[in-house]
Amino acid sequence: MTIRVVFLGRLADIAGTDAVELALPEGQIDWDGLLGMIGAQMAEVVHAETVKLALNGAVLPDKAALVASAGDEIALLPPVSGG
């Protein structure tokens, strides 16, 4: 009963890791739930409009509408810096 959260770009520096597995006791998690589990500093950074969220490889139009289940992969995507 876990979800995987992937930190891209400078978010990996803040997290100190590329990805974490989070225990999901209730089997589901929403955006506020995720913010509560990733630490206050990371929560503040990913709250910014420029940070996007992908659920299982698809970018959500509105990350606040997130509903993730055990086994899902969430990626937190700061602004890209291109080629």
Binding site: R10, V59, P79, V80, S81, G82, G83
Partner: protein
């Protein structure tokens, strides 16, 4: 005529000349080939550059960009190769090559793909300078370049 498409992420250094030679051979009857090769700039204090990506988005995103280029321009072939990982100054980062019957389609397709790769593709870049690593965000010009295409 079948369209030739070659979209790749490469973890190791590549020689643009070898790619372009093969690509040109694979598009007989073409009128022109336009190619852009971007390299890690030297002489500006950058010691190394690291490009990271997110596998589930990056390659599908490049293929979607290729779809749009084929829909928008009259192309015979499109090559889009992007490095990931660690690079040093002088190393190629990106190579986009478009083959077409007419030069305008070839040049505009390369311009279009580069503008979108720069500001809309799923890559994160950091540079190592004397004082350590720095994450790079897109320049204002990059957004303006992309806006030229109406999205």
């Amino acid at each position: 005529m079948p369209q030739m498409r070659d979209i790749r992420l490469l973890g190791e250094p590549f020689l643009p000349g070898a790619l372009i030679g093969q690509f040109t051979q694979a598009n007989p009857g073409l009128g022109g080939v336009c190619t852009f090769v971007g390299e890690v700039r030297g002489g500006i204090g950058v010691e190394a550059l690291e490009l990271s990506h997110y596998e589930p988005l990056t390659l599908p995103g490049m293929n979607a960009l290729a779809d749009r280029a084929f829909a928008r321009f009259d192309l015979m072939g499109l090559l889009m190769v992007h490095r990931i990982g660690m690079m040093v100054p002088g190393e190629p980062i990106v190579c986009v090559s478009a083959a077409a019957a007419h030069r305008r389609d070839a040049i505009d397709a390369v311009d279009f793909c580069m503008d979108h790769l720069k500001s809309a593709a799923w890559f994160w870049k950091r540079e190592k300078r004397r004082d350590g690593w720095h994450w790079i965000e897109p320049r204002t010009e990059d957004h303006a370049d992309r806006a030229r295409w109406g999205n």
